[in-house]
């Protein structure tokens, strides 16, 4: 599918282009603000949702190679809506009014991509929440081991053998997996 000219907004987020980010806020924030306020939110909620949705899109563009095949506005609106609906669900809040805008003209793709952005970013957040539960030593070992440096060099810096580092790294990752599994209600620690 062809890349939409609005891909420039994604490029703007990736390069932190002040002018393009300003354009995104100027053109798209009013619609999203009014939708959130109409649906039990406040001005602050709208500002948060708008900002965090842009960060999610940045992350997906940077790490998952997200490319825009539809206009940016409906895509951003769907990402924001999904985020806000999840937020009010967490708060156990009231019913949300039905969406009055019709996005069907953009096809199913925009819905699918917006959904994927939401799901993948939530998963990444869960991974890091569980990562923070690990002990300091495990976090340090994983930080060092998973950030592209040579394992032998890391072992040397920590004053441990290469074999010990590999063993500890594997133990820490296994613990992290069990935390994630428990948090998502999947098969927990130990035998699968």
């Amino acid at each position: 599918m062809a890349i939409h000219p609005d891909q420039r907004y994604l490029e703007g987020l990736l390069s932190n282009d002040n002018q393009l980010v300003d354009e995104i806020y100027r053109l798209f924030s009013p619609g999203i603000r009014s939708w959130i306020i109409q649906n039990s939110g406040t001005e602050d909620d709208a500002a948060d949702i708008f900002q965090e949705s842009l960060i999610d899109i940045y992350n997906q563009a940077k790490y998952k190679g997200l490319e825009l095949t539809c206009p940016f506005q409906p895509f951003l609106l769907l990402v924001c809506k999904r985020k806000w609906l999840n937020e009010i669900k967490k708060r156990g809040a009231r019913q949300v009014t039905k969406s009055s805008d019709d996005l069907s003209e953009y096809g199913e793709d925009v819905f699918a991509v917006a959904e994927r952005v939401g799901v993948e970013e939530e998963k990444a957040k869960l991974f890091f929440q569980q990562f923070e539960r690990l002990g300091e030593k495990c976090r340090e070992i994983l930080r060092m081991s998973l950030t592209g440096q040579r394992q032998e060099k890391i072992a040397e810096a920590l004053g441990v053998t290469y074999g010990y580092l590999r063993k500890k790294k594997s133990e820490c990752m296994a613990t992290l997996m069990s935390y994630v599994q428990a948090a998502t209600g999947a098969t927990s620690q130990g035998a699968i």
């Binding site: 900002q51 960060i55 991974f127």
Partner: protein
Amino acid sequence: MSTYTNEDVIRYVEGELSLEEKQKMEEDLRSDAALAESVALYRQLKVTLEQRLPADEGAAALRRTLGSMRGRYFSGGGSGTSGGSIDTGRLSGENDGSSMKVVKMKTRFPRYIAGMAAAAAILIAVVMLWPSDYLNSYGKTQMAGVTERGEGNDTLMEKASEYFNAGAFDKALPLLDHAYKADTTNQTALFYRGVAGLHKGATEEARQDLQLVFSGGSLFKYEAAFYMALSYAQKGDKATARSWIDKIPAGAPGADKAAGLRRKLE
């Protein structure tokens, strides 16, 4: 029902199983959905951490830009951190340590509770304005495991680590000194010698160590920058302390502590 552990899954993905073990696991993978799910989870987890654990200066810079726009396009939206009550879910690599969640208080309290709160606020303000012991408030750290365990062989670094972690910096210092002089590439010894020196009040020598660690680009680089900041904060030189904090990118080791120290300095 398979009886694989998560460590088996990791060994499989990392190609550490014997040919026989691998073949057996692949056979089980075809019929065991939970096992296949665990393999997929490990792959996702690993890729996500590899991508997002390193400091993402781009995300931190974007957050600053978004913060400034927020103030311009949303009324009362503050200027950079979450002004609402949404969990921003900031990820490790883009974490600048600023507020993750702001919870708004909407309940109206009885007057006597308000009075108590006011008294508490005054007390907090007095404590906050009191000259700070930055080093003891922010400078606590533990030496990570430095030796192979289980060999019953107490090395110099392990002994130093025991003393250091017990807060016996005067006993840790000579051992770290010895370890560093025996091997001047030992950045672990140099870094902890610097930290121990700070705790013992040998500020100038400690700064020399930390400066060396910072310049050397070792894994302790940004933690060294944090302790440099702390050493200046401790002496009341807030401007230099801030300039050291500025050298620590979001997501780097010590970035969270640095953000806390910055808030305290402000």
